[in-house]
Assembly symmetry: C2
Homo-oligomer: 246 residues x 2
Amino acid sequence: MKTCTYLGILGGLGPASTVYFCELLTSHTAATCDADHIDMLISSRATTPDRTAYILDKNSPDPLPVMLSEAHRLERAGVDLIVVPCNTAHYFYDGLAQGCQVPILNIIDETCAHLSRMGVQRFGLLATEGTIRAGAYERFCEPRGLCCVTPTKDEQAIITDIIFGQIKQNKPVDMDAFQKVVTSLRSLGCEKIVLGCTELSLLKKLGLDDELFVDSLDVLAYRTIVACGKTPVGFPSSFDREEVAR
Amino acid sequence: MKTCTYLGILGGLGPASTVYFCELLTSHTAATCDADHIDMLISSRATTPDRTAYILDKNSPDPLPVMLSEAHRLERAGVDLIVVPCNTAHYFYDGLAQGCQVPILNIIDETCAHLSRMGVQRFGLLATEGTIRAGAYERFCEPRGLCCVTPTKDEQAIITDIIFGQIKQNKPVDMDAFQKVVTSLRSLGCEKIVLGCTELSLLKKLGLDDELFVDSLDVLAYRTIVACGKTPVGFPSSFDREEVAR
């Protein structure tokens, strides 16, 4: 892939994880002054119709037209790579990619490739109901022989509440309930737990175990920094293997 | 002022403070779902020529043409308000404002207005040498009868090193040296200390005293949230007086 000189971020899905993604980019790019950082244009269209709501009920407003219109805005501005820091929005990836000239990094494909390079065989997926129900990860797992384990219906209800009822509302997170779901996935033989929703990535600020959790947003940040020709610094040790893939 | 429905952020000056400003906007806007947040377009042009370098030496590359071109990009996208989360860049405010149709909030004007509403008479200013040498705050202090006290030459060298040699390089900050400058300004009768550089705003994450420090970036975030017709939440208690001004 050609080195990206101007990055487009299709964001606001949700707003807090877009900001956190940008924070990952700035804090993990080797820099001695402002100009060492990535030039970027960030569309944070918070009012994009809810992705999960549409995936679960096609009578809900379709977010794709808004996402496409924002992608075209980035394209017109001259970006040469687009990233979408939201797993659920990748349900619309094919529609976006077909409607755009500019390449779009796929957070789910990149995360599965990362797991594969780590030698993981079986992982637990924490994500929105939209991502789970759409089988968004399975599609990229099968060709790699990866096994993706999803929570039970009751456990998923806990994760859904953490994402929509707690994190997106700036409320305290029920970490005991979260850990209960994690323990259950671990008991099913999952070697790693994937944070497959960029709202869940925000939980890392509360100090999740770097060895157990693989954050899809970390993977996207790493691949983005590399695609922009910059040097990634300070990522968890599991990223040491990514050096080979660069 | 008409309520802003689409916000433009002229950022990257530097990249980390732009991200922190966006974090302030998302964490301080009352919201129960993504769509309650502000729709915005953020230009983070990290390679904009260094503002302080140009202010101190007019033979250095002029950042205004790049800033104007990014402001026009935001304008073409349809934003109806522009904010620039960088004090030093406000040296170029008049040039920007004259070249744009869209109103631009002035972080320095807003900060001085905030100090004035708080009943402050004399404050210490921590900022880049560019902001200090340009007298950027004095211009908005005089009409309000505010007295702005700046560090000595040696103290300013400490602040300059903290901004350019430490914060912008993601290095640990010498907080003892920082506090020495603060103590000196306090001994000159300053009631408040203004963080008049958005890189210094990042120090708040290390736990600065809310009662003593007034952060220009907090003021800009507050005024922006209000200008966008949203409800600001969780600001320091000094912002209670802002309620009256809304």
